[in-house]
Symmetry: C2
Subunit: 411 residues, 2 copies
Amino acid sequence: MALLVQKFGGTSVATPERMREIAEQVRFRRLQGDDVVLVVSAMGSETDELLRLASAVADRQPGREMDMLITAGERKATALVCMALHDRGVPAESLTGSQAGFITDTTHQNARILEIRPERVRAAIAEGRVPVVAGSQGVSSDRDVTFLGRGGSDTTAVALAHVLGADACELYTDVSGVFTADPRVVPRARRIERLSYDEMLEMTATGCPKPAMRSVEVARARRVRLHVRSAFTWEPGTWIGEEDPTMEQAIVSAVTHDTSEAKITVPNVPDRPGIAGTLFRRLAELDVNVDMIVQNVSADGVTDISFTVPRGQLGDSTSVAQSLAAEIGAGAVTSDATIARVSLIGAGMKTNPGVAATMFETLGAAGINIEMISTSAIRISCVVREADVVGAVSVLHDAFGLDRAGATVRP
Amino acid sequence: MALLVQKFGGTSVATPERMREIAEQVRFRRLQGDDVVLVVSAMGSETDELLRLASAVADRQPGREMDMLITAGERKATALVCMALHDRGVPAESLTGSQAGFITDTTHQNARILEIRPERVRAAIAEGRVPVVAGSQGVSSDRDVTFLGRGGSDTTAVALAHVLGADACELYTDVSGVFTADPRVVPRARRIERLSYDEMLEMTATGCPKPAMRSVEVARARRVRLHVRSAFTWEPGTWIGEEDPTMEQAIVSAVTHDTSEAKITVPNVPDRPGIAGTLFRRLAELDVNVDMIVQNVSADGVTDISFTVPRGQLGDSTSVAQSLAAEIGAGAVTSDATIARVSLIGAGMKTNPGVAATMFETLGAAGINIEMISTSAIRISCVVREADVVGAVSVLHDAFGLDRAGATVRP
């Protein structure tokens, strides 16, 4: 008899039919003897529609009011899912973030969970009812309604699974798990059975859209076992947990890609301490989320610094870089929005040299030029032309045999 | 400097444009030195859409979950109206029913207010912010979200005006006030400037759709001055307050009509004590809302009992009447769903005999047959054929000169 927290995303609760499917699934789970706690997102594209409405009403939208508005979507979904459960004879109880005990800070639109007091969730379970908790919301220490941000329902589910001591947290989505590459780019991409927290984190950081990175961070910190799976096929998906030291690690688990960034280069930077610090401090003050940073080896007392930023922040970031370049006598700043980042992820990389070499050789043989490189213990990322992204992901997926189950253990 | 509670109904907040109009109006009111508290309903037909969604999800809808679902509509509207106010430079703060301090009983879908603790509303006013309160909702003594029922936003506004000691409660709607008759039936119907609580109550009880009867009851009990007016034209509407003994009362203030009821007659009822009691007790046990009851004078030891019920309850009510008729040896029960009720309302009727006679003569001269009559101190109602309703309202409106301002003082 297990306790499961199941999170259903927007597409999984988009229609009355889908809600009835969820109810049927819960009924079966309970017949198998398991206790279930549900966390639900707003229906389909409701959050987007609420944002559109807010833009139509006002040019400026205070965070407090946006949170009051947006969280209405999840509340609706909880009530409707409860009705579907009751209709199947399953006692259920909807709970807002506040009722479920989610206390957050006062950072509207992106609140952080401070504490969870899940007394009502526990009481419902104890009395045989299925708690249906509104995702991505809480109540602040100022007693205001708060929203945890887009993708926050994953975080709600993982945090709740932790405080309840659940056996697993199932994240239901519209795909059947985490794949070796985006199946739209590589049709032969394969669903991964098992990933470590670190691998999943690197994948979400480099372009894998689900689950939300923050929820994986919480899961890793609290050791909550995740199961990413489909609410359309109900087949087993991808398990995410601790690395199993008794098992041989896959050298390469997946190829990810990201085309949302742009590159800025400051050439001929005088090679003296403090300059990079000044640059990235100024960018941080503008809330620019700098991702890759590459600085070449110094030659003749000058060096080039390249970094990537979200495309939407390219203009501001370029201005910052230009004014600093003028102050320090560096060369003319260049920026480029037509790049893509391709990454290899694999926990086994740590102990397998030669993965980087194979990656660079493979891209070279395909005539794809590498513009920037950065690595971590379990990831290698290359910046390439945006036009080359599909080719790059495909040849790497083939080169590391990712379409063959288990083949990645020894490429 | 006055304190005003303003309630905006669904059509008044149906679009972003209308919300911006409300914000502009509030800005002017504050420039005039008044403090304003807003109460808003859900946008346009949102409540109906939520009900449709609930029916699509489940055959049975538990009240607790319906309340969680429906109240999301008002929350959305409060947040959006606040954004519109901020955008006009007016500080504002949305408050759910719970945040505004509405404590209710646990009767879901039709909760009663037990107590209001409006600390956050008062704090917002004191700090110069406009509180925007979600209508028709509260939190129960079980800490569950509750809904006060359709039309409950009027009650929220009136109750809040009472506890805040507001100078008036303005009920904004899509019409410009309360009329001497339904303008769709009588094109010459005129807006009434002033009505007593009792007249307004009799009007809502006999077919005038707005404001909601419960809110008028609360206003009368708590002596809250109401102003029913238009959020489209912003012109002064109808004031509802205590009778002013220094002013001459209008003999007839309005003609109302209602075509939502049906008539049941039990003929030849043995005239002995307790039979009527038994009949209406059984109907009450079925939650049938019996309206008019007429019992003729007994002749030959038997009497006829006629009464009206909502058309949707005609079948059940007829069955109850038939089984009782069989038990007591009464005649064959007849029922009729094609009736209408036409009523004259006027506080001055009390001291002006002859109004009833004029009413019956007028209907008779128009060839309209009267099937049932009932009266109160300030109302006379006649049941007529449904096909005669437009004619009946029109001739009565003319006979009492309701199209001429002030003319009703002496018909």
